[in-house]
């Protein structure tokens, strides 16, 4: 088991990468190397469009602190298609895809680190094991996308919001940011409505319903949940698709070391 606190002290920029998943499959050398690939870090104070859809990138962005959304524009509106927590190598997609099909928008205050694509070329050439771990990390996003598709296909607005809360809380826990009663988040009501495809009025009503039924209280930058099991049951949420220590986990076997 990884000592999560020690890991983020030793690797301040990349210590949360794959935490709760395959971080323990990374060798010490790979961890040191990944940390050294961060060319530059910066704090971004306000919600910012870090990368616009269609732009060509020469570096990929690691989310070190704070939150981000992947968004698509359409009909003059923004639609949020996924959410990111610290430790996500959010913009690694841009390395394999060359240009992004979506925007990367920050939420609240974030710290990011930039990895030049030339360094990733080196990994692809010389370090197939680390390359596979990078590949793995991008496919976690695809698994989350599929779950979101299903959530949108089957859930009502309050349940969609509950599903988002359940997912974010679990993901924060996986990367060493667990809290007992909920989580702090800079997400706004309008971010939430963009994440669940509902109008502002619908979202507002759904948030009130969640509070009234005692499922979750979203207020002033905090989501408070009295009973995790009740939240997850209400949202029809099971964490398997996050590829943490649950049913779908990558169980490493001798001879199949990833």
């Amino acid at each position: 088991m990884i000592d999560q606190a020690a890991e983020t002290v030793r690797f301040p920029d990349t210590g949360r990468f794959l935490m709760g998943r395959l971080r323990d499959a990374m060798t010490e050398d790979e961890k040191i190397q990944f940390e050294s690939m961060i060319e530059r870090t910066e704090w971004i104070e306000r919600p910012t469009r870090l990368i616009a859809s269609g732009s060509v990138c020469r570096h990929s962005t690691m989310l070190i602190e704070g939150f981000m959304l992947r968004t698509l524009d359409g009909d003059g509106k923004r639609h949020a298609v996924s959410f990111h927590v610290p430790g996500d190598f959010v913009d690694l997609h841009c390395y394999a895809l060359k240009r992004l099909d979506h925007n990367i928008d920050t939420v609240g205050r974030v710290k990011v680190g930039y990895v030049p694509h030339a360094a990733l070329d080196g990994v692809m050439r010389d370090q197939p094991h680390l390359a596979r771990l990078f590949w793995f990390s991008t496919l976690l996003d695809a698994a989350m996308h599929r779950e979101w598709i299903m959530a949108l296909e089957r859930l009502t607005t309050p349940r969609r919001i509950a599903h988002i809360f359940a997912e974010v809380w679990r993901r924060l826990g996986m990367v060493g940011l667990q809290e007992a009663t909920g989580f702090a988040t800079p997400l706004t009501q309008s971010d939430l409505s963009e994440m669940c495809g509902a109008s502002a009025i619908h979202t507002n009503r759904a948030i009130r319903d969640l509070r009234a039924s005692g499922i979750a209280d979203f207020d002033r930058g905090r989501v408070t949940v009295p009973d995790r099991a009740a939240l997850e049951h209400y949202a029809g949420f099971t964490p398997d698709y996050l590829y943490g220590p649950w049913a779908l986990a990558y169980d490493r076997q001798p001879g199949d070391p990833i």
């Binding site: 639609h79 099909d101 496919l139 598709i149 949108l152 089957r154």
Partner: protein
Amino acid sequence: MDAAQVFSTFPLTGDFLAGRLRDQFAVEELHILEGMMAGPRCLADGERLIARGQTAVQATILIDGFMIDRIIRDGKRFIVGLHVPGDFVDLHGFALKHLDHDIVAAGPVRIAQVGRDRLREVTQARPAMARALWFATLLDAAINRQWIRNLEALDAPQRIAHLYAELHHRLTLIGRNATRTLRTPFTQTDLADMCGVSAIHANRAVARLRELGLGEIRRGDLYIADWAALERYAGFDPAYLYGAAAPSR
């Protein structure tokens, strides 16, 4: 190389990344890719290739036909993805080991497969191929994102229109473009499960597309005169499909 030559030389993998990165492959690598696949083999309509949670010991390319990504939850079926020829349908399983979804044939299909160990050897020896396979899986993710956005932003008739516009475009990229008829094996229930609506809603949405003169869907086949009109109606922009000629926005 014209289409006939491609298929006599690469009968199993000739559609892989066609219209996208295929032209950038070294010929030697195209041959390695073709040579590592075993097949073809057929699956019947509805046959499941791999189940959620099962260890992915093979990676599978779709040669002919359509396949769907399916998740069963609380006894109900949800369709979360769709595959056309040239797609490595279960390649996510190579990196994730276990898939979060089932992959099922929609209509009869032909596939070819490569074992996990062999695939690891090839990607290890050939970084350019590893990168192309990675690209292919991220293309799936880009399509997923568009589906999320569609579910957030579009009504049922627009979702169905978008689905057909996407299929048309994906088939065109691999040189299998339909002009006035796009044939699919999809039932009305399949369409409903792809769009997150009831069968009754899907029925009404299909009727709406007919009323608007955008196209007529019968037994999954779309009869259409004006693709541009359908694309406009659906707000379809093919940039997310990463076609080689697609302009960046």
